[in-house]
């Protein structure tokens, strides 16, 4: 039963990704102009040369043929050919994707680590002044534009010099040993990670609080309390497992939010992830890089949701029975 469910989910995810790839391909095919547009302005380059180049890079072929070629190159791990970098897209993207993944995973972990205690505490104290103050603080935080938050972090780094902002490693760090290198990366990761985590923490806190409150008001919790089980134990051993379901779906969903937010973080705090690459590729009209980044981020998102679904399957017997 479970295997069937997993298989169905996998097929679903694969179909979704194929549809996304067709959609993004079609969208970018509609684009007027291409990479060689800037050359057209140059009187020293003849139209024949440009047409030759377009043929060489296959830009003059029909959409279906290009899509087919692209699919083949995806299977080879190349993901098309970047004209601006004059290399296959794959190697360009993998490094960046690793960095983005590092950032989003770190930020997700940090955000949940922050949100779980705060949300739980707020749910336990529901209705009190402390809970309300927490709610107001979270709503205010939610309304601060991400842009402002990241810029403030950057300002903090520039002004105080306590943080290493910009890039991923210090110059000359490649000669260090493994542990000092890891420490160096972690230091660079700190600021973008905090920024990204703060973007979604308020939302997580709200969800955790409301999910827990729903459970804490149900009769079985009152029964547990009446048996004299301590408040902390009730919350963590009785309420949390019941409240966990929607929160696990939220985990999958929050990855999508993270990915969108990470573009801005990466650009502002110069983390060498997919975001800056995407912006550069748009300016250069480097179609395959754009498609590659969009596809890869969709893969992350779909994988995140899939992961959440499988996690649910693992911990909730009700889904296995259905």
């Amino acid at each position: 039963m479970a295997m069937k469910y997993i298989r169905r989910r996998l097929v679903h995810a694969a179909l979704l990704l194929i549809a996304i790839s067709i959609l993004s391909f079609a969208l970018l095919q509609l684009a007027p102009g291409d990479y060689f547009d800037a050359m057209r302005m140059n009187p020293l380059i003849s139209a024949k040369t440009i047409n030759g180049l377009r043929t060489e890079y296959g830009l003059d072929r029909p959409l279906a043929v290009r899509y087919e070629h692209w699919l083949v190159s995806v299977l080879r791990g190349e993901l098309g050919f970047s004209i601006a970098y004059n290399s296959p897209v794959g190697p360009l993207i993998w490094v960046r994707a690793r960095n983005t993944l590092l950032l989003t995973c770190g930020a997700t972990a940090l955000a949940w680590l922050l949100a779980i205690p705060v949300g739980t505490w707020s749910a336990k104290k529901r209705g009190t002044l402390a809970d309300r103050a927490c709610g107001v603080a979270m709503s205010t935080f939610l309304t601060i534009p991400d842009l402002l938050l990241y810029l403030c972090l950057l300002l903090l780094a520039v002004r105080t010099g306590w943080f290493t902002a910009g890039g991923m490693i210090s110059p000359g760090a490649s000669s260090l040993g493994f542990w000092s290198k890891a420490k160096d990366v972690a230091l660079h990761l700190l600021l973008p990670c905090v920024g990204l985590a703060l973007t979604i923490t308020p939302m997580l806190v709200r969800h955790i609080r409301s999910a827990l409150i729903d459970v804490l008001e149900s009769p079985f919790i009152r029964a547990a309390r009446a048996h004299g089980i301590s408040g902390t134990r009730v919350v963590f051993r009785y309420a949390w497992p019941v409240a966990a379901n929607p929160l696990i779906s939220l985990l999958g969903f929050s990855i999508g939010t993270m990915l969108s937010a990470s573009v801005l973080v990466e650009v502002i705090l110069s983390w060498p992830g997919l975001g800056p690459l995407l912006v550069e590729a748009i300016f250069a009209r480097d179609v395959y890089v754009v498609i590659g980044v969009v596809m890869l981020s969709s893969v992350f998102l779909v994988a995140g949701n899939l992961f959440a679904d499988l996690l649910l399957l693992a911990i909730d017997p009700r889904i296995r029975v259905e």
Binding site: L16, A19, I20, L23, S24, L27, L28, L30, A31, P32, G33, S139, T140, L142, T143, I144, P145, D146, L147, L148, L151, C152, L154, L155, V158, R159, G256, L259, S260, A261, V263, L264, V267, I268, L278, V279, A281, I282, F283, R285, V287, V290, I291, V293, V294, S297, S298, F300, L301, V302, N305
Partner: protein, 343 residues
């Protein structure tokens, strides 16, 4: 009672903010492109009641700036002359809502003096004026995009929920597709598909259209859910039993029940789209100079020198907080309100 108070408060805040921006010409001391080339990056002008001798003035006044003779780009205050602030002063002509010509500004000072309440930008333009004029563009983008995506959502979600079957299936698979795309990336991809150098109004329209078209999936799914339960309500079944047409049922009985979801979604989507516009413009992919929009006001912060030395360049972003707070509280209150009605 408290709930109603909350909604009212949010709506008043929003109405106030929106009218400030709608009447930008009146509230802004200058036009969005008026330049004072003597004073790039001038700090916010301080409004005084007491002059240097400690004498009280009933009418607030400002001092002029003078360029520091040694340190270029630094300003000293010229205490020799006071410029009283004039209310309802005649100034540069503008048009109210783009139609009625007018030239009265709420605040103004006499010519060589300048009133930069939020400081000036790198071209010596008043930030407050640019913020107000920029709001016209950014908020309009948010409003149109939200209206577009919610009406698409009503149409597609309503049809999917009402007719069901293969149509429902197809539409919801489509919605899933759009939800599975990280939407900012999608927005970028669509922006990538557009030529980089097209004229400003085209950029604006395309941006709005794209944001609106991309955002239909979530409202559509929510509305479909409401329609699904609404069409099973007894009075709807009764109307159907009396031979009401599909059209009548949809418009008369079912869609009115979605109003709660629709309003909540609009309140949630507007700030989201405004932020999307700000983000795209910040990165240089939206409307550009000399047009003012909230994104372009902030984009100068990408330079380290501006970021670290001119704190007032942050003020426009800070001013967005009350606006977003208003929408956020409104969405929250609407959600609570309609939940209690429908249950």
């Amino acid at each position: 009672m408290r709930r109603r108070f909350k909604l009212c408060g949010a709506l008043i805040l929003l109405a106030g903010f929106q009218s400030l921006i709608l009447l930008a010409g009146f509230f802004a001391p200058y036009t969005s492109t008026a330049q004072d080339r003597r004073f790039p990056f001038a700090p916010p002008t301080r409004v005084h009641f007491f002059d240097a001798k400690g004498k009280f003035h009933a009418r607030p006044f400002v001092y002029g700036l003078k360029n520091d003779p040694v340190d270029f780009g630094a300003y000293g205050i010229d205490f020799t002359r006071v410029y009283p602030i004039r209310f309802l002063a005649a100034g540069a002509p503008y048009k109210i809502a783009g139609i009625f010509p007018a030239h009265i500004h709420l605040l103004g000072v006499e010519e060589p003096g300048q009133l930069f309440l939020l400081g000036s930008d790198g071209y010596g333009r008043d930030q407050l004026s640019r913020f107000l004029y920029g709001g016209q563009l950014s908020l309009l983008a948010g409003l149109i995009a939200a209206a577009l995506s919610v009406s698409l959502g009503i149409m597609l979600g309503g049809v999917a929920g009402f007719y069901g079957g293969w149509l429902d299936n197809a539409l919801m698979r489509g919605a899933e597709l759009f939800l599975a795309l990280p939407w900012l990336y999608l927005l970028f991809a669509v922006r990538a598909a557009l030529p980089l150098h097209i004229n400003q109004s085209q950029v604006f329209l395309l941006l709005v259209a794209v944001m609106g078209l991309v955002g239909w999936a979530r409202p559509a799914r929510l509305i479909r859910g409401v329609v699904l339960s609404a069409k099973e309500r007894t009075f709807v079944l009764a109307a159907r039993g009396f031979g009401a047409s599909d059209r009548y049922l949809l418009f008369r009985h079912i869609l009115p029940q979605t109003s709660g979801v629709v309003l909540t979604q609009i309140a949630l989507l507007i700030p989201q789209f405004v932020l999307a516009e700000v983000t795209l413009t910040f990165l240089g992919l939206g409307v550009g100079e000399p047009l003012a929009s909230w994104g372009s006001l902030l984009s100068s912060l990408q330079q380290y020198s501006v970021l670290s030395s001119y704190w007032w360049m942050f003020l426009p972003a800070l001013l967005l907080v009350p606006l977003f707070l208003g929408y956020y509280i409104a969405a929250d209150a609407l959600q609570e309100r309609f939940k209690s009605v429908s249950l």
